[in-house]
Subunit: 205 residues, 2 copies
């Protein structure tokens, strides 16, 4: 593609380097910004720079934060003895959106993946073990994706924590609410039958 | 959605203000940048700012350009008496990509659209008339989309130029190469029969 402008070519290449955005979409977005007032593009440019340079990781749970300690860890109304372990900050957001969980989090920063060269040392697992030891935690809830990487990571954490005085649980797997049994995958369905619960307990929500 | 960070919320809102990008995609892109080296986000931020603040419009054809006169208008090897009129710079790129056109361009900057409140004065139509008068043009080729707006704009230009000593043409409409007649829309097919050409001429490419 001949852009006729180095500036345009550069911005298209930068936008197209984002995941899921091709050159055509990048061009469309760049030309859209050209039609908008200059302030729009400058706001976007500034927001990107500020976000990337000023955002912090919470020193306790490694969630992203504008301050040294995130709003969740700094909230005295939360149950600081119940820690939910998640892969990344998107999971924190998803769980926070349910409005049901009153504990705090521990963001691992990824999952163990030999395929992608992610070893346990690159994740905040040792830090989780330290929190269990130092913060007198009551329960650690594993909320990791049911993938090979998620299961590997969960098992690794289980081995690290099994002799510690903390209750280790995992979020329930099963048929989702509103999902049809007919269309559920076999593993989910099989596990869901195996891990059946008393009927009166299944009504609680 | 609770982002837990003003910086994240801000960047997500700015990205999601782009056409065709929702909040979820914006969040995914922001978090992607967080995982990348800081330099990546800064390069994107800088490219956006530079593109929007430094890019110019060619003083002759209004194509975007890094300099006062675009590379096409500044090229002495092009035929400066043949001007192809297009809606916007994407059309210039599309035609340049064919590698077939040796003339120059005139970018209108849009199409007349009473629905969207675009009047002829907001487009570079008067400037086209001035070019016809001052630059001793031989041919003006209208390459506008076959929409209501495109046809309206073409007719407006036709009225402005019909008494000038310049040949006014329009790009050919018809069944595209590789297209199947069975699936062509009725108007295209009808026009394509009406505007049939001698067979030996249809073989030229």
């Amino acid at each position: 593609m001949e852009y006729g402008s180095k500036l345009l070519e550069e911005v298209v290449n930068e936008i197209a380097a984002l995941p899921g955005i091709g050159k055509r979409t990048a061009l469309r977005l760049a030309l859209h910004l050209l039609r908008q007032p200059e302030s729009r593009a400058l706001q976007l440019s500034d927001a990107l720079r500020r976000f990337r340079t000023e955002i912090k990781r919470c020193r306790i749970c490694h969630n992203i934060s504008d301050t040294d300690t995130c709003a969740i860890c700094a909230n005295p109304a939360r149950d600081h003895a119940t820690v939910c372990v998640v892969e990344d900050i998107r999971d924190v957001m998803a769980i926070e959106n349910t409005g049901q969980f009153r504990g705090v989090y521990h963001v691992l920063g990824g999952l163990i993946s030999p395929m992608e060269g992610v070893s346990p040392e690159q994740l905040f697992i040792d830090d989780l073990v330290r929190r269990v030891e130092e913060e007198n935690l009551r329960e650690v809830i594993l909320a990791l994706s049911p993938t090979v990487e998620g299961d590997t990571t969960a098992y690794y954490i289980y081995k690290k924590l099994k002799d510690k005085p903390v209750s280790l649980t995992s979020i329930a797997r099963g048929i989702g609410f509103g999902e049809e049994i007919e269309y559920a995958d076999e593993i989910t369905l099989a596990r869901s039958i195996e891990n059946r619960v008393p009927f009166d307990q299944s009504l609680k929500f």
